[in-house]
Symmetry: C2
Subunit: 187 residues, 2 copies
């Protein structure tokens, strides 16, 4: 059918984040830069660890990417430690767990144990969700599946809204801090 | 003069850390590994940021080291954010400030402002000191010198003792936490 001004109704997914030319990593980086600018938090992407085979302090001529054992982003918010991973998937019905390495999963357990703020930002079906580390681990410990069902992510995750300054995930963290979720939960 | 068993008295500096074949970075890395093993804290050396000129996901063939804008080590201790730098100097009378980049100094100010645990471990004259970020900044703000006098480091710094598991700097952090030094001090 035709809409006013001859504009065809588009698939709603076309107006969500991933179609505006901004991938998740760039969105998060923009968000963190904004938090730095307004002095709300100090959160950085960790450099990818690299193994150097040949080179000197001026120029590296042979090196390779190492598998990370921690998560992509970490930093400081209100005196507390914060660490998270950001992952996209094109899969519409579930988030494949091969996206997160086994030692990263163990690391998430430890961050929770040491009362750090820890979560995963998942972009799928054109939307971004913050899935708390605790809910992520609880799923893994209670399921044999190799992926997390989208239903679980929608139910347990917090939908993040995009604006000009990125994805404002710290407002969700504020809510979680109010609930003392990082102080008392034990895995 | 000769000592029992014909052992000559050695300069006392020869029995301190830097002469046992362990440089400061290795000492700190060993300490952090030990903290991980006994599950006391999660503290890692940040990978050096690298700018990649040529390469693919398998092999990097042309890259260079970038200047870091944050400190070398960061992590999580008792829910709190911890970040520090470790530096050695052969200079005996003062610690040259060229060892710390201008943007790292600004970063230290921000970490303190956001109530993170922040300090510098300085190895000089064969000894290791933990100089709290606050005392480091206070010196810089009140002196025009391009180095921190050793007297100031001895007076304000906390001497770290080495043992088989490295340099146990978290015991000093515990003392500082008891004094609420990271909660109330303002620069």
């Amino acid at each position: 059918m035709n809409y006013p001004n001859n504009i065809k109704k588009q698939n709603t997914k076309l107006v969500t984040y991933d179609n505006r030319g901004m991938d998740l990593e760039n969105l998060i980086n923009r968000t963190n830069e904004y938090y730095l600018e307004i002095n709300r938090a100090l959160i950085y992407k960790k450099p990818t660890p690299i193994g150097i085979v040949e080179g000197n302090y001026k120029k590296i001529t042979n090196a390779y990417f190492k598998a990370p054992s921690t998560l992509d982003y970490n930093g400081l918010y209100k005196g507390k430690y914060i660490e998270f991973e950001a992952k996209e998937t094109n899969c519409k019905t579930s988030f494949p767990l091969r996206n997160i390495h086994a030692h990263q999963i163990e690391h998430i357990r430890k961050v929770i144990e040491h009362k750090g703020i820890c979560f995963i930002i998942i972009m799928m079906n054109g939307l971004c969700y913050l899935l708390n580390g605790f809910d992520f681990i609880r799923y893994i410990d209670n399921n044999d599946r190799k992926s997390i069902e989208y239903d679980y992510i929608m139910k347990k995750g917090y939908l993040l809204k995009e604006n000009y300054n990125g994805l404002n995930y710290l407002d969700i963290v504020d809510e979680l801090l109010k609930e003392n979720i990082y102080e008392f939960k034990e895995i």
